[in-house]
Subunit: 460 residues, 2 copies
């Protein structure tokens, strides 16, 4: 016991001596955030990614252009090492502009075209399209009630995004299943196709795409999202009671897997090079827009950590890896590959952080980790409060880093920005550079850099 006390004392003295040569944590965090707010390049990098590279659907030319851009960018930032980690990725192609139109019925005087987008991974109707009736379904309970009536019809899921939920991610979790599993559930009862009310919060008519998941036991029927205003219009058409006939055409196809890459930039740790801290976002995006918030913001914020560490001459003790993950949106192959290779190589991952909730004002971090780690994590809140962080809580992570947690129990942390605007633009044509604010984006990068610094200094 005495020896232990003595050791603690020595440790205390040496730590105190060391601390004379380095800035205090509050000072260092202020340096990091200030440098990013004043000299940060995340915003300009995002402009390049959005305007020069553009949409980055997995396996599209945009994805390959983004991979090249990301690797070159991290080389220019003087990462110690930059490499491409190959992985197989799905190759889904949207095809021609989708068509959904009223062709026969009571409302022929009204506008007949509806604004739609195929869901990611959807099968198509083929070039000839499909003509048939539409049946409106309020929710999954309603589907069960009407299961005898859906055969051969286009099922229209008319479930609304819950504006009354204060936390938009809760509303996304609530309405999301109509997009992700609704087509498979309708196929089970013989539906010919599915039209899903967009899972989006904006008072506009942009359809919100996103991946759907088929069930291999049932037919893979065409599935599209419809803009919210057009969903209202469609709903009224159907309430008028006639057996209107509609024409739907989408020509998307799923081709055989092809090759994509995680883009990885690394700063080697000086004291514990084997302890790896991963920070990342995903490089792929949906095709109708620029993927500015989802997840261009996360990509440029993650890369900013390399820039600011280099700019301030901060040499991390542990190894910092920035990973621009492949294929988050319609396959999660990049995240699986990264964790799989970590396992194969016997790597030690002490923390992984993902930023994939939009480039908005940061308000918190949430983490999945054990109780001791959580206590340490929460204790850092006071250091981050001056930068607007008021929540450090249990529960979060990120899709791409989930496999690390499952394989290694690696603590995983997600950035939680203010989410009120996120589902206005999420997966829609409005997710463009102009919807991102420079100060909000940079403040997010700042708190990420601060948290990575703390984990680097003290472990987790």
């Amino acid at each position: 016991m005495k020896i232990f006390t003595l050791l603690l004392l020595f440790w205390g003295i040496s730590a105190a001596a060391y601390s004379q040569n380095k800035p205090s944590d509050p000072d260092m965090i202020q340096k990091l955030v200030t440098d990013i707010l004043v000299n940060g390049t995340a915003y300009d990098n995002l402009r390049q990614l959005c305007k020069q590279v553009g949409p980055r659907l997995t396996a599209s030319p945009g994805m390959y252009a983004a991979e090249k851009w990301g690797a070159e960018k991290m080389q220019a930032m003087k990462a110690d090492k930059v490499w491409l980690q190959e992985c197989a990725v799905p190759h889904w192609v949207r095809g021609q502009k989708e068509v959904f139109r009223l062709v026969r019925g009571y409302n022929m005087g009204a506008r007949k075209e509806f604004s739609i987008l195929s869901l990611g991974n959807s099968f198509g109707t083929g070039a000839k399209g499909f003509t048939g009736e539409v049946i409106a379904i309020d929710d999954f309970a309603d589907l069960e009630k009407k299961k005898e009536q859906v055969k051969g019809k286009i099922v229209f899921y008319n479930y609304r995004f819950r504006q009354d939920f204060v936390e938009p991610f809760r509303a996304y979790g609530d309405a999301g299943p109509y997009r992700t599993s609704g087509p498979a559930r309708a196929a089970q009862y013989g539906a010919a196709a599915v039209v899903v009310r967009s899972v989006g919060s904006a008072p506009d008519n942009h359809p919100h795409t996103g991946a759907t998941r088929y069930n291999d036991s049932f037919p893979k029927i065409p599935a599209v999202a419809i803009g919210n205003e057009d969903a209202d219009r469609l709903s009224k058409f159907l309430r008028n009671g006639g057996h209107e006939t509609f024409y739907l055409r989408n020509t998307c196809v799923m081709l055989p897997d092809t090759i994509g890459h995680n883009i990885i930039g690394e700063i080697k740790g000086s004291e514990f090079p084997d302890e790896i801290i991963t920070i990342g976002g995903h490089l792929d995006s949906w095709d109708p827009a620029e993927g500015a918030h989802d997840d261009g913001a996360g990509v440029v914020q993650s890369m900013e950590v390399i820039r600011v560490f280099k700019a301030l001459g901060y040499q991390p003790k542990r190894t910092i890896r920035v990973v621009l993950f492949a294929n988050e949106e319609n396959g999660l192959r990049g995240g699986a590959k990264y964790a799989g290779e970590a396992k194969a190589k016997g790597e030690k991952h002490i923390m992984a952080l993902e930023t994939d909730a939009g480039g908005f004002t940061p308000r918190g971090f949430s983490g999945t980790m054990n109780a001791a780690q959580l206590e340490k994590f929460k204790a850092w809140k006071t250091l981050l409060e001056p930068y607007g962080i008021h929540k450090m809580e249990a529960g979060g992570g990120g899709a791409d880093i989930g496999p690390l947690n499952r394989l290694f129990n690696t603590p995983v942390i997600g950035l939680s920005p203010d989410a009120q605007r996120y589902f206005d633009v999420h997966h829609a044509a409005t997710d463009v550079f102009e919807s991102v604010n420079k100060r909000e984006l940079h403040l997010g990068a700042g708190v990420i850099a601060a948290l990575v610094y703390l984990v680097d200094q003290y472990g987790l």
Copy 2:
């Protein structure tokens, strides 16, 4: 002591009985916020105010159109009483589009025009304009050093908005004096005119106007704001060292005072009609844009309280007054009038709340009040936390309600939304309807309604 205990007991019983007939505070607050998020009209009202009424500079036709619109709107919302409270207002007219241009010097090959806007209340150069040299001044200390050199010149205050301050209002407080008192201070040393770097955070070139205050002891010299990118350009021109000559023309004039109005809508209290709770924003705006965040947002959020109380059938105990204040931007005459008339009539004002910091996600309230009131106010935080309010603190209020506090010690409270985007658009051409997000605006209205409900129920 026993009687007191007994009384408390009876009070407890009757309160319990009463509470069976009314929703609990958490339930009532949820009803208020939910109704606003789902059925709120603030966003549509803001669209009308921005797009149908438009800019609302004090004494301009837009101001009078806005007064009419506001009164009609609150009548349509079934306020018990709506009236116009007349007050004298300044009558400043911008005149022709301002011109600032290089006319002689080393950079004649470059773009010669600079983007400027006269400051509010500024005097003009007259139609012929002014031609002279520009002297760059870093800050007020620099002005003192160079005070012998400014005579007859155009003083260019090149003080930057501090992007390193996490709280943008702090940066506004820091740079704002160059706009508000910089012209008067330069005039003291004989400057001919002043060009101020815009007090704005956006990486763009829109000049940000705003009021300046002359000192009657010195000449009232022309004063304009220059866009931030053009301020960089001007700064480079001057560093090149030559004695470049510039031409400045602004034709604004201050006319004699005219008549404006506070627009007031009231719901009479059922139990304590003499206890008045005021909620407000200001109806006037700067002229280059639509005044969407400043302060259309506050106007429509305040009116929303009437709508939601009526929609839910909530009859306040105390009198609720929504005041759309006149002339906040360049005179504060509306706020002074409202307090003055309250004093003349012997009114009892128990709380005043202002929303004039933009229609962004609400994060807190801050209030100026005595210690007992502050304790009560802070205790409500737990009720508002589910709606994103994490700060209830001392110190705030609002320009229009300041006179109430000074005259009556009325507790004054300001809504504190997330401010990262505010000074991007504040007083600039970019403060338009499209820069406001519906959910953010409505959530702000929701927490205001919730706080007003609490003050109505329990006093302060």
